[in-house]
Amino acid sequence: MKPTSKGAGISPAHIGEILQKYSWSKDALVAVLHDVQKAAGCLSEEALAEIASGLDIPISKVYGVATFYTLFSVKPKGEYIIRVCENAPCHVLGAKAIVGALEKELGISMGNTTPDGKFTLEYTSCLGVCGVAPAIMINDAVYGNLTPERVPVILKEYK
């Protein structure tokens, strides 16, 4: 068995366990990718190959699915993924200024990861908390009613 790459951090045995959980069902591919990414941080080429051979589907299809959905990533990301909503309801209430404050505070532009690998900054689909727009999500935690002034205060919790 091929050892996993350092970015992947998941063994073929662990992937096997996940596939077993879903009874090796091809239909469960999205659920499998969720679980593998949760364990490994991202979906490496090795992990995708392992899933493809386990479920007996072409790796091109697995890669196609992994890159279709915004919650999946084939590249390693920061420890904390900051997802910023810039859809209309957040835009109307000043999301641009939140983006500016985040970029300034972290010293990176949208779509990038800090050099220490701690934070990734990216746009997201609507988070569905438009009643408290503008909003962001840091890993699983959502923050709403944001102002540029609150950005450094929130980031402090993660630094």
Binding site: S25, K26, D27, A28, L29, V30, A31, L33, H34, K61, G64, V65, F68, Y69, T70, L71, F72, E86, N87, A88, P89, H91, V92, L93, Y123, T124, S125, C126, L127, G128, V129, C130, G131, V132, A133, M137, D140, V142, Y143, G144, N145
Partner: protein, 536 residues
């Protein structure tokens, strides 16, 4: 069963969680205990109460007093004054609403609202099946299974005139009848909870606030069409919805309200949850089915429609969360009761989510056919900062933008399309006169370019070109012929895109061109923004 003289309901919907309701709940429980009131007063975490921007929100019953923006520091005062001495803590009441001391049955903070879908949201503990049952939960299912034939159930839903609440506005009874008629060894009920329309968060708060109502609606639908298996496809981002649905399914199974031979009727029904992974297009029913089958969420060519050939190529009913939440009360109270609400062609209520430049943001449920003016000014508290209303986008980012001439148009599934817009999912994005049309248009078009799945050319290319042209106008590089081009491209996309995404994407821009053409022209001809806010 224990009885309490007072119940303190703490809203546990996501917006209130963000505002710190968990801390307030814990402080209330601790303080009530410390004052020795824990045998008299019960603290309950409920689903969404509606005023999402005023969280954390709590209601003290039996009086029905609504407290807003409650902080942990306010808890001792509420317990001491209200729960111990019976005096309302006035400083926490009605900061943004005309909330008064109200009766249990009709809380006045709801104003002109009518609650059918949200009947239990903010009233029961969503994690307690007993509380759902105490509010007539699962009684409609019992009635269907023990007193009605599947065809009677179907007939009742048809008669009620219920129209699907996901956006496409298809009559629910008719949809069910396609699947009921289909001959197959297996049929499915699929609940579409992949709520991705920007500005919409109703399904999230219904699932968080009253998950059993969806399970009951699905089981009734299953009985009507002959399906014994249901799936709920929920957005991956909706953690709390997934958690509460999971608990609800376990509880219902434990009591035999889901599973085999429900109420000894011989009817069996099981429900499983499937988690999405972030793709707006999966809200389209065939894309959702593709995703459920482990593929990229790309829509299928229709026909065949899911009603006859859906999930795993079997006949499948795909219904939105809000649609299903309407089903139990319709069966329990009858189609005539349901038709008392709303309009002749669109009976019932609609759940709207208010966002943007409006004083009271959040979740409301009102009779179908209500006007924008009543929603914005009577319920929404008007526009903040003394500014003027400029436009409202109805139905989310894939809906049209209406100027103030349309404030008195009834909002339903038939009237709004006549004005070039749509009721859609019920999102209402209100914008004041400080916003630049071109800047907002660019925001909309960027969204569609990103969310187009790329399967069909009109949508893949069309969304990219619409965005490109609008961005050019925003930069001050627009040409007079660009407006014709936008209109022509939009019409072509509406006519030829494979699914609703590409067909609806031009809608906001088409209505903006119709009602705010002069602002586009100012950006193109004078290189000037009339509102002076977009930087041009």
């Amino acid at each position: 069963m224990e009885f309490y003289r007072s119940h303190v309901l703490v809203c546990g919907g996501t917006p209130c969680v963000l505002a710190g309701c968990k801390g307030v709940r814990d402080a209330l429980i601790a303080e009530v205990k410390r004052r020795g009131l824990d045998k008299e007063v019960k603290v309950v975490e409920t689903g969404c109460l509606g005023p999402c921007d005023l969280g954390p929100v709590i209601v003290v019953y039996p009086e029905g007093t609504l407290y807003e923006k409650v902080k942990v520091g306010d808890v001792p005062a509420i317990v001491e004054e209200h729960l111990l001495k019976g005096r309302v803590v006035a400083r926490l009441v009605g900061q943004g609403r005309q909330a008064e001391v109200v009766k249990y049955e009709e809380p006045t903070y709801l104003g002109v609202q009518e609650r059918i879908v949200l009947r239990n949201c903010g009233i029961i503990d969503p994690e307690s099946i007993e509380e759902y049952i105490a509010r007539d939960g699962y009684r409609a299912l019992a009635k269907c299974l023990t007193e009605m034939k599947p065809e009677d159930v179907l007939e009742a839903v048809k008669k009620s005139g219920l129209i699907g609440r996901g956006g496409a506005a298809f009559p629910t009874g008719l949809k069910w009848s396609f699947t009921a008629r289909a001959k197959a060894d297996q049929k499915y009920i699929l609940c579409n909870a992949d709520e991705g329309e920007p500005g919409t968060f109703k399904d999230r708060l219904i699932l968080e606030g009253d998950p059993h109502s969806i399970l009951e609606g699905m089981a009734i639908s299953g009985y009507a069409v002959g399906a014994d298996k249901g799936f709920i496809y929920v957005r991956g981002e909706y953690g709390l919805s997934i958690e509460r649905l999971g608990k609800a399914i376990e509880q219902a199974k434990a009591l035999g309200l889901l599973g085999s031979n429900i109420f000894g009727s011989g009817f069996s029904f099981d429900v499983e949850i499937r988690k999405g992974a972030g793709a707006y297009v999966c809200g389209e029913e065939t894309a959702l089915i593709e995703s459920m089958e482990g593929g990229r969420g790309e829509p299928r060519t229709k026909p065949p429609y899911p009603g006859t050939e859906g999930l795993f190529r079997k006949p499948t009913v795909v219904n939105n969360v809000e649609t299903l939440a309407n089903v139990p009360p319709i069966l329990l109270n009858g189609p005539d009761w349901f038709r008392k609400f709303g309009t002749e062609k669109c009976p019932g209520t609609k759940v709207f989510t208010l966002c943007g430049d409006i004083n009271n943001k959040g979740l409301i449920e009102v009779p179908m056919g209500i006007t924008l003016r009543r929603v914005i000014y009577d319920i929404g508290g008007g526009i903040p900062g003394g500014r003027d209303f400029k436009m409202a986008q109805t139905g989310g980012t894939s809906g049209g933008c209406l100027p103030k001439e349309f404030l008195d148009v009834p909002m339903d599934y038939f009237t709004l399309p006549e004005k070039g817009s749509a009721l859609g999912s019920g999102a209402l994005l209100i914008m004041d006169d400080s916003h630049c049309i071109v800047d907002i248009a660019e925001c909309f078009m960027r969204f569609f370019e990103h969310e187009s799945c790329g399967k069909c050319t009109p949508c893949r290319e069309g969304t990219a070109r619409l965005h490109e042209i609008v961005a050019k106008i925003a930069r001050g590089e627009g040409q007079p012929e660009d407006l014709e081009l936008l209109g022509e491209l939009g019409s072509a996309m509406q006519a030829s895109s494979l699914c609703g995404l590409g067909q609806a994407a031009p809608l906001p821009i088409m209505t903006m061109l119709r009602y705010f053409r002069d602002e586009f022209e100012a950006h193109i001809n004078d290189k000037l923004c009339p509102t002076g806010t977009c930087g041009l």
